[in-house]
Amino acid sequence: MAMVTLQEGSPKHRAYVIGAWVLAAAVLLYVPFASDIGFAPASIDKAFRVTQLNDVIAYAVAILGLNLVIGYSGQLSLGHSAFVGLGAYTTIILVSDHGWSYFATLPISAALCFSVGVIVGVPALRIRGLYLAIVTLSVAYVFPTLVLKYESLTGGPNGKKPARGEGKLEPPSWAPFSDAGRLAQPLWTYCLLLGVAAVLFVLARNFLKSRPGRALVALRDNPTSAAINGVNLPLYKTMTFGVSAAYGGIAGSMLMMNRPFASDVQFALDLAIFLVVGLVVGGAGTISGAIPGSLVFVFVPYFMSEWTNDQEGMPPGLKQITSPLFDWLETRQGGRSIAGVFFGIGLLIFVFLLPGGFIDGMRKLRARVVRVVPNPSWRRDAAAKTAAPAAIETDAAAPVPNPTH
């Protein structure tokens, strides 16, 4: 049973919520600016670590966008790598060939990806489930081919990057870290990306609380009931696809701000699949799940690869046990692929321990410590707003968001 019980809306509860936000903000600021980060051994360059954090922010936005489609509107999309890629190429082409600033490209890639997303979303109105998966999969599959085909625009297989010495995001002189040398640029990027991401997260949250957002969730849980309620189904479904694609596009642009280089293989099917992994690990149908999902996406394969490369940084006891295995793998041609095996096994263990994703697991954990008693009047309102009259039992029967529909 919970140790602390809080009444929703009470001053104590408000303090709890604000405290949690302050703590989160403190972590976000402390991690990159701290002199030595716990998970960055002294030998590892801090600038690189901050660059990785920047990746985390960008991918979190992409996963959040994907969540709008999969987690909230319940349609499986395997094509988000293409949207991230489209955003990335839009930015990098405008910056390197037309001298735009990175920020100016954000609305362009958002708008472009929104349009393409809507176009993909239109067949999605008629096509569902696995059929939709194949349509989006085709988009993911074809994108790199188009990048190669239109080489003059995209740089083809050699990738696209700004001309040498250009396209750098230099921090302004007033920034306290502007003289931090190698670290200045990643830190400045961190601040910018964090700002962009914060806006996008708040927008997503407000969108989901708005009428169209609630309609979306109703749609996922019970398509028929939402239709009965007079929700404009086709419009919202298409819009969701567009918004989701726009998030993907902005994420692509953010990736380019962090590391101005785009190549076809970067935005291939693997990315689409790993975004889904990040999504489900974080937790489908949760906004905050995008962050742990993205952390896993960026850091787990990285550390797996590091550890299998040289066993430094591994816990000492474990190292003794695994060293014969690694010695044997050393002599095998594909031995280093073992990182992939470990990652997969880790994922399996994860799903057995936390089948609902990270955020779901955290909520269960939190529920043991803090119990928030909902304010009864709110609950009634919420129920009246979302639940459809004919669907109470069927709604309850399907509490888990269904990713294939």
Binding site: V135, G334, L347
Partner: protein, 353 residues
């Protein structure tokens, strides 16, 4: 193998005619508008053929038809596995291609390391992969409620990662050459101006026989009945006392065996590497979808269609060329699905909430 075919020849004919009946049935059920669309499509095909023959000659046209059919049957073989697993899981099994790849390596181990004849190696590998898939279903999938799509999706993603990397560790990434299981390998004969490989023809026959056998298995056995019931309505099947777990296990095993067969037929035309199924999978996925995901015969016809579109578009349309042939084939599928959301031969009911 051959004796089995003879024994069941009457049943086989029945299944073929049923598959054809399914096909005609789907034609009949087309509305007038769709029939008109189909007519337009047929006219386009005929006009295209005439134009193609006129520009580059009969022989080249025939060769392209043969190439298309050749690829199409390979796509169809894997599409068959996908259809089975779709019926069994109702989620995207990301690991399907890797399972087939692993099975094909097992074929390789039997034939190359143990020195067994190819066809025996394939049969044994099919058996091994069926058992392994049954084990995977029992240990990893059955823990979760079949309606918990999210968890099952992660499990298949994990399998995708594990199997792909494990094959790399065990067999490395250098390509292995897997010989064709059929006689007269690498020899060709002339057919209406085209060169046709003997092993291709045997492959076509094998795929057709497999479709027939799988159809019989599903239509004539109790476990097949249970499988069809579960894939149609899980809840009702459970209420009828069907062992859901065991039935799905059967589906996984069958799909894995068929996948191994598909991989073992495909590998001799390319190289066996831990990633070799990837490029095939996209087309097989497309074929399965175009065929309607739950129609075995439909997936074969759709596989052939995709093979032909790819060959013809790539071969005759300069702007498309070899590089965009893939994209073209996929674009056609998207268009078809937009018109007919449940595929060409799928049952109209798509919703499976």
């Amino acid at each position: 193998m051959s004796s089995t075919v003879t024994d069941t020849s009457t049943g086989a004919t029945g299944a073929v005619s049923r598959a054809l009946g399914e096909f005609y049935g789907s034609l009949r059920s087309l509305s007038a508008k769709n029939r008109r669309n189909l007519g337009i499509m047929a006219a386009v095909v005929v006009l295209f053929s005439i134009w193609a023959i006129a520009t580059e000659g009969w022989n080249l046209f025939m060769q392209r038809v043969v190439d298309g059919v050749d690829n199409g049957f390979i796509y169809a073989a894997m599409a068959l596995a996908l259809v089975l697993i779709y019926k069994a899981t109702t989620v995207v099994n990301f690991a399907q291609g890797e399972m087939a790849m692993f099975g094909t390596y097992i074929t390789f181990v039997f034939s190359s390391d143990w020195g067994l004849p190819m066809w025996l190696s394939i049969l044994m590998a099919m058996l091994v992969s069926a058992l392994a898939a049954a084990g995977i279903e029992r240990t990893l999938i059955r823990q979760f409620d079949p309606s918990n799509h999210l968890a099952i999706t992660i499990v298949t993603l994990s399998l995708f990662l594990i199997l792909g990397a494990l094959a790399g560790v065990i067999w490395a990434y250098d390509g292995k050459g897997l010989p064709s299981p059929f006689p007269k390998r690498n020899e060709t004969f002339g057919f209406l101006g085209a060169d046709v490989e003997y092993s291709s023809v045997f492959t076509w026959i094998t795929v057709i026989v497999t479709v027939v056998l799988v159809t019989l298995l599903l239509n004539r056995t109790k476990i097949g009945l249970a499988f069809r019931a579960v894939s149609t309505n899980l809840e009702s099947s459970r209420l009828a006392g069907v062992h859901i777990g065991r039935t799905l296990q059967f589906g996984w095993a069958l799909a894995a065996a068929v996948g191994t067969l598909a991989g073992s037929l495909y590998a001799p035309t390319t190289l066996l590497t831990p990633t070799f199924m990837g490029n095939l999978l996209v087309f097989s996925f497309a074929a399965a979808t175009l065929g309607g995901l739950d129609s075995l015969g439909g997936s074969v016809l759709a596989g052939l269609l995709i093979g032909l579109i790819q060959t013809m578009a790539g071969g005759y349309v300069d702007r498309i060329g070899g590089e965009l042939a893939t994209a073209t084939a996929l674009a056609v599928i998207v268009i078809v699905l937009a018109v007919k959301p449940s595929g060409l031969f799928g049952s109209a009911k798509v919703e499976r909430v």
